[in-house]
């Protein structure tokens, strides 16, 4: 009984401590983003890393997601005799939900894990200490470009995902099921409004922030991990934690944003 209480207590403390640390981390990262002089190069490099290098994966998943939506959508809509709505069904589900969420999950797997491992290894091998001793702010130098790049890259990748997905749905709908191409796009035009695009945009911005925030913070405070953040194993365990945590957070925030903006 006593042991249980103790466990709950220390668990709560750890949770509070971690949340506080993460909050402070985000504040510092955000403020250091706006410190002058602003350097463009590191941000471009990070956008390249997070964005450009993920583009292929996103194209691929986007295409297949759109195609499967075409398939399943057609199957469902046919039951109600409203195959004509395939365009709007595909577009709406992509723009509002699947585009941002699936893009975020894919990018977390690729770039989020890499960010966490990179920062974690820098912590482990005293590179972050070295930065601090040079009076170079690690937040400004290391974290801010990544955070900004995440916020820039995620909506762009989501947009690619959406467009390719809509194309995939079109291919399946017109090629496989003989739906009228004009009807596919006409349905889309009439049903997709700015609010839908806005919701997708807000989501992808938030997801981009969440991904870099969680990944970088986990890596940055690797040495404070309770489970021991030492060596290669510590980095790999923390990276796994970061991927899981950011994926779950994406889904939770997806729900919250949907509920808020609906």
């Amino acid at each position: 009984m006593y042991l249980l209480l103790e466990k709950i207590g220390s668990g709560t403390l750890e949770f509070l401590e971690t949340s506080g640390r993460m909050g402070m981390f985000l504040m510092r990262a955000l403020t250091s983003m706006f410190q002058m002089p602003f350097k463009v190069n590191p941000v471009v490099r990070q956008v390249h890393f997070i964005g450009a290098r993920s583009a292929f994966v996103i194209l691929f998943t986007g295409l297949f997601t759109g195609m499967v939506l075409g398939l399943q959508g057609y199957y469902t809509l046919r039951k109600f005799g409203s195959e004509g709505f395939l365009g709007s069904a595909v577009a709406l589900s992509l723009i509002r939900e699947l585009g941002p969420v699936l893009t975020a999950l894919m990018v977390i797997g690729r770039a989020g894990s890499a960010i966490c491992a990179e920062v974690g290894i820098m912590r482990n091998s005293e590179q972050i200490d070295a930065l601090e001793c040079m009076a170079v702010d690690p937040f400004r130098f290391l974290i801010a470009p990544k955070l900004l790049a995440g916020i820039i890259a995620m909506p762009l990748l989501t947009a690619i995902f959406d467009v390719i997905g809509i194309l995939g749905g079109y291919l399946v709908g017109t090629g496989l099921f003989g739906i009228n191409p004009g009807a596919y796009f006409q349905g889309m035009y009439t049903s997709v409004v700015w609010a839908d695009v806005e919701m997708g945009l807000v989501k992808s911005l938030v997801f981009g922030l969440l991904m870099v925030w969680i990944a970088a913070c986990k890596g940055f405070y690797l040495h404070m991990e309770r489970s021991g953040g030492f060596g290669a194993e510590g980095v790999s365990r923390t990276t796994t934690d970061a991927v899981v945590l950011s994926s779950v957070s994406v889904l939770v925030w997806d729900y919250l944003i949907s509920a808020l903006l609906l």
Binding site: E118, I121, Q127, D129, C133, M134, A135, V136, D137
Partner: protein, 270 residues
């Protein structure tokens, strides 16, 4: 704090007073008192694992003492806010024991980083400064290599080049010559001596290279049992009657003088 300034006693720039530090249940520092005076070179010696690197990390403000104070330029470094801490650290040049090079940057970019981040020099000026320092360290050939592709001694030298990049007022070298051959380390000692003459920096050096390092030292401090056993000029240190210091001197330097005999003894046993 910095008042007793006369020719013989330059002002104290770093002061550790009663510093205690434990890691978990292991008590590493048990009340360290140590002063570093401006323009002087302090060499910290002691057996491996005694906490020499931990002392340096206290001076850098990377580790917070459990007890006691660390004052740099008269200010408690652990009470400074981030900006003030940076102002203090702008005067530092640090070589970590493991060199702590940025492993995703090549040698050139590693050494250029302080210039790029802390000054507004253009790339040509950066190049000039970097190549000069790399030349001093004999690293011109290696500028495009990454830290993982360097030997241990080369990594140390890159770290030194980076530490000396911005004309520091205080340098911290954690085992600068470990991993270097005798020729390279002699060269490095000469280089330290020259740069020290030029820049007049204050130096805190941790080294196992006894007695060679004594030539560079104004003061030698021995760390043992979590405390500074004594801090004095190298001459006094070698003649000191204090038991721990004597034991250390005999252990390290006696070994040097009687190495023939000991080696014979060793071989005789095999």
């Amino acid at each position: 704090m910095m008042s007793n300034q006369d020719d013989h006693n330059p002002p104290v720039v770093i002061e550790l007073a009663g510093v205690e530090k434990s890691f978990g249940r292991q008590k590493v520092l048990r009340g360290v008192n140590l002063q570093v005076r401006e323009g002087r070179t302090l060499v910290i010696v002691g057996a491996s694992g005694q906490g020499k690197s931990v002392i340096i990390k206290h001076m850098l403000g990377l580790v917070r003492p459990d007890q006691g104070e660390v004052k740099v330029f008269g200010r408690d470094i652990n009470r400074l806010n981030r900006k003030q801490k940076d102002e203090v650290r702008e005067n530092f040049g640090v070589l970590f024991q493991n060199a702590a090079l940025f492993d995703s940057l090549n040698v050139y970019d590693n050494v250029a980083l302080p210039l790029r981040e802390r000054t507004r020099l253009n790339e040509d000026e950066v190049r000039e400064g970097v190549m000069a320092k790399l030349g001093l360290m004999g690293l011109q050939e290696a500028i495009n290599k990454f830290p993982a592709q360097l030997s241990g001694g080369m990594r140390k030298r890159v770290g030194l080049a980076r530490a000396l990049m911005l004309q520091p007022k205080i340098v911290f070298f954690d085992e600068p010559t470990t991993g270097l051959d005798a020729h390279k380390s002699n060269e490095l000692y000469r280089l330290f001596y020259r740069t020290q003459q030029q820049l007049g920096y204050t130096a805190v050096i941790v080294s196992h290279d006894v007695p060679k390092i004594f030539k560079l030292a104004d003061e030698v401090a021995l760390l043992a049992e979590g405390q500074i056993q004594g801090c004095m000029s190298p001459e006094d240190f070698q003649l000191s009657e204090q038991p721990t210091i004597r034991a250390f001197v005999e252990e390290t330097m006696g070994h040097l003088y009687s190495s023939d005999r000991e080696e014979n003894g060793l071989y005789a046993q095999v």
